[in-house]
């Protein structure tokens, strides 16, 4: 059972209220990009055992998308943050570092 705090409506939402939205902070490559870039954007996904950044939607609630930082091995949630960012904010990075020193995920650490 996963409980995530929705940063928009302030609810500690049960997993059954949420919809998973896959990996966070994907950089979109569209027309004009190389085949490798498009392939990476479409298909290459992180599958870590440990720290992971994900998108979630409070589907049966306020309907907003947000981000969550959590551990895939222990289901520990380090924090959630709003969707209008291209990387995890400093307080989220600090929260992860406090629990998983030396972590890295894509270009973030």
């Amino acid at each position: 059972m996963l409980i995530l705090h929705c940063p928009y409506c302030g609810v500690d939402a049960d997993e059954t209220e949420l919809a998973a939205g896959g990996e966070a902070h994907l950089k979109r490559f569209g027309p004009g990009s190389s085949d490798d870039e498009l392939h990476g954007y479409l298909f290459a996904r992180e599958n870590p055992k440990g720290v992971h950044l994900e998108r979630w939607r409070h589907a049966s609630g306020c309907g907003k998308w947000f981000h969550a930082a959590r551990c895939t091995a222990t289901l520990e949630v380090f924090g959630t943050y709003k969707a209008q960012v291209s990387g995890p904010p400093q307080e989220i990075r600090d929260a992860i570092s406090a629990r998983r020193p030396g972590w890295s995920w894509r270009e973030f650490s």
Binding site: V11, T16, C62, G63, K64
Partner: protein, 188 residues
């Protein structure tokens, strides 16, 4: 003009709580910046209620404002006055980046009242209904078993529930099962 009827024609059930369909209720979805003056003027002007805080509902009778999300309100008005209220709101909104739509006929509303109202609700929604966590005026959008639903608690401890009209029969049956005589848990 044909006579409008509510989804379940006011069906009711008496178990450990009383479940009743509330009949026709005017509902207007208002989206926009909830801090902007035109949106506040449109919402408060239509209902005579103050702007609700996060996850709050200010409702008196058939008029009220419910907080749906950071940029959405549900405006409750008497069903017969929806068109006039919507026109007034559209005027009040003016050029503000916003949207007001009449959704009355897409929805159904129920009331759950009685001593065990919290229990019946807690059987259906993944929400903490403990007296300290959910009180009068608190509003939540969540789910009721398998369908979307929104609800708030009134001053007398009863709940009002809003769901889509297409699932009104399902929600009524859910509430009836949750309110079966002898099914009280006694947790609250």
């Amino acid at each position: 003009m044909s006579k409008p009827v509510s989804a379940l024609m006011g069906a009711a059930y008496d178990g450990i709580v009383r479940v009743e369909e509330c009949g026709l209720q005017g509902m207007i979805t208002l989206r926009g910046d909830l801090a902007s003056k035109p949106v506040i003027a449109a919402a408060t002007g239509a209902t005579g209620q103050e702007m609700p805080g996060q996850r709050r509902a200010n409702v008196a009778g058939e008029s009220g404002l419910c907080w749906m999300s950071p940029d959405e309100l549900l405006v409750l008005v008497p069903h017969a006055e929806v068109s006039a209220k919507l026109a007034a709101m559209t005027t009040a909104l003016g050029d503000a980046h916003s949207l007001a739509v009449n959704v009355s006929d897409a929805r159904a509303m129920f009331r759950v009242s009685g001593e065990h109202a919290r229990e019946v609700m807690a059987k259906l929604a993944p929400v903490d209904f403990a007296p300290g966590a959910f009180g009068p005026g608190d509003f939540r959008r969540s789910r009721l078993a398998q369908v979307a639903g929104a609800f708030w608690m009134e001053e007398d401890g009863s709940f009002r529930i809003i769901c889509f009209r297409s699932v009104a029969d399902y929600v009524f049956k859910l509430l009836k099962v949750a309110a079966q005589p002898g099914s009280a848990v006694g947790v609250f």
